[in-house]
């Protein structure tokens, strides 16, 4: 690590190989980051399977900035307030899928069922709790009746096939995969699950030490981020192709174009930060005893986003 506390000559970017991180992927692949940072700045990337691993690595200063779900950024904030959310990335893109044959017709039917989530405290965890609370259910950890299983999204379709779980709160492209590979049904699509299209699925998060030491690079990052969002909105098909190629490069397997297109329809890239939803998520986290209070004062910092937008 090191070298990036002040006047860094390197920016280390973290993200997930998920479709909800398409903004980062496009900004990387289209060279927006490199263009904005300038030739002198070296870019390093790392990918993570879930928000816990992402925040863990950010806390141990393994990288500086990247996209992650808002909940991991929020729940870890209280114990270790060393990072801030500086922009939105993607809204929507999360679904609640159910196993064919589990006999789940409505959210109420989840009573006594098991639901997979990517990790404890993940955005889908919080969204699931929000959705359940709307019909008066709760998860077992909070003395409810729905059992919640943290499982890597990659393993979820296996669990479906083996009847090990009955439903999954997940983000794209995993929802589409579940539908196609495990014959899953989408009980709640991106518009119905939790806060619907207003649900913040990913945000840009950065270490305070990085943003304070390198305000220019931070703004550069956000400019590249905004360019990527614009590109995706205008060139959906091309963005999907870029994403498929990128995944093939890092994971070695080629995603199905149709499926990925389908997934891309379910999400909405945006740099806006919906603080209202973030606060509601914090409250749910607090009620789930993931946090000591729901006070997230100082977590969101719009200054860099505003600066970046001004110069546009």
């Amino acid at each position: 690590g090191g070298g990036s506390e002040e006047n860094a000559d390197e920016v280390r970017i973290g993200y997930f190989p998920n479709f909800t991180h398409i903004t980062t992927v496009v900004a990387l692949e289209n060279g927006y980051f490199q263009e904005e940072f300038g030739e002198d700045i070296n870019i390093e990337t790392s990918t993570f399977p879930d928000g816990s691993a992402f925040m863990e690595a950010m806390s141990t200063q393994d990288f500086d900035i990247g996209t992650v779900g808002p909940s991991p950024a929020t729940t870890t904030y209280q114990r270790n307030p060393e990072h801030e959310i500086i922009a939105g990335a993607v809204n929507g893109g999360a679904v609640l899928a159910t196993r064919e044959g589990a006999g789940i017709e409505s959210v109420e039917d989840l009573d006594g069922m098991s639901v997979a989530i990517p990790t404890i405290g993940s955005t889908q965890d919080i969204m699931l709790r929000e959705t359940l609370s709307e019909v008066g259910l709760d998860v077992e950890d909070s003395d409810g009746t729905v059992s919640m299983l943290p499982q890597a999204p990659a393993d979820t379709s296996t669990l479906f096939l083996q009847d090990d779980v009955d439903a999954a709160a997940t983000q794209e492209p995993w929802g589409v995969y579940l539908e196609n590979q495990a014959d899953a049904d989408i009980l709640l699509d991106e518009e119905e699950f939790a806060w619907g299209t207003a649900s913040t699925t990913t945000v840009v998060t950065a270490r305070n030490a990085f943003t304070e030491g390198n305000p220019d690079l931070t703004e550069d990052y956000l400019r590249a981020h905004i360019r990527a969002i614009e590109f995706i909105e205008e060139n959906q098909q091309e963005a999907v192709e870029i994403f498929i190629d990128h995944i093939e490069d890092i994971a070695g397997n080629e995603l199905d174009y149709e499926e990925t297109m389908e997934a891309s329809d379910r999400l909405n890239p945006t740099y806006e930060i919906n603080e209202e939803v973030l606060q509601e998520m914090a409250t749910i986290s607090y009620e789930a005893e993931y946090m000591q209070s729901d006070d997230i004062e100082g977590l969101v910092n719009r200054a860099f986003l505003e600066a970046a937008l001004e110069e546009e």
Binding site: R79, E82, L149, P150, Q151
Partner: protein, 259 residues
């Protein structure tokens, strides 16, 4: 007396050092959460989290889940180990085949079976039971067969000249004479089972202390992680020392074998 005093002092020193590390700004608080006196951000302490967990029943429930699994898995392992051990000691051809296979199986850490276990038994209790059982069975088998094979011939000869043979010999001599070996087998098997269940629960995520640990990890709540570790340490120490070590000592004293 002086021993107790030293221990108390030692614990105080350790706690104090930790507390100081936690309170200086050398490391972020979440890396070294305070044990007793809350620091600024978060305001949590390990003791607080521990007490909280105990009061809400969360820790006690997780402990009983873990111990329940352990008991079942370990019992299966002991029964299987004794049976295999007996067969290996009794029949040369079983020794030549199963015995040799067990030596190889013993060298495979049980957690390595996890991917297969999930595919075979699904994610959940069964897979974890499988991991626990398989972690303890082979050691138990090896120790039991060693015990059965190495019954001092003087006992066998004495019993035979007194008219014992067959199952009577097995029941009254071979089994009790192997007790020292079996007990040290139990102790090692327990150690492996204990390690296996923690690894299994950390992965398998279906309740239990390992699941709480994983939760602590996911939330970066090191106060929760540490308080669970304290619980694990206490339970482990009690079972290890009060049950198995004590058994072993009693037997080796009674058998006239040096400690």
């Amino acid at each position: 007396m002086i021993t107790v005093l030293r221990r108390v002092l030692f614990v105080i020193v350790i706690v104090t050092i930790w507390e100081i590390i936690s309170k200086t700004n050398l490391f972020p608080t979440f890396m070294f959460p305070p044990l007793l006196i809350p620091n600024d951000p978060g305001g949590v302490t390990v003791l607080g989290t521990l007490v909280d967990g105990l009061i809400t029943g969360q820790i006690i429930e997780a402990t009983s889940v873990t111990l329940g699994r352990l008991l079942i898995g370990f019992s299966i392992a002991v029964v299987l180990g004794l049976t295999f051990g007996f067969l290996i000691a009794r029949f040369k051809w079983v020794d030549d085949t199963l015995g040799f296979f067990v030596t190889a199986l013993q060298s495979i850490p049980s957690i390595v079976w996890f991917p297969l276990a999930i595919v075979w038994f699904g994610l959940g209790n069964l897979a974890i039971l499988f991991i626990v059982a398989i972690g303890a069975t082979w050691t138990m088998t090896v120790n039991a067969s060693t015990g059965f094979k190495n019954v001092p011939s003087i006992y066998l000869n004495a019993a035979r000249t007194l008219g014992s043979s067959g199952t009577h010999l097995a029941r009254t001599v071979i089994l009790p004479a192997s007790v020292p070996h079996i007990i040290s087998g139990l102790r090692v098997a327990w150690a492996f089972a204990w390690r296996a269940i923690m690894a299994g629960e950390l992965f398998g995520a279906a309740g239990g202390l390992g699941y709480l640990l994983d939760m602590g990890r996911s939330l970066q709540a090191m106060d929760l992680v540490l308080s669970i570790m304290i619980v694990i340490g206490i339970i482990g120490t009690i079972i290890d020392n009060q049950v198995f070590l004590r058994m072993e000592r009693n037997v080796s004293r009674k058998w006239g074998v040096g400690t």
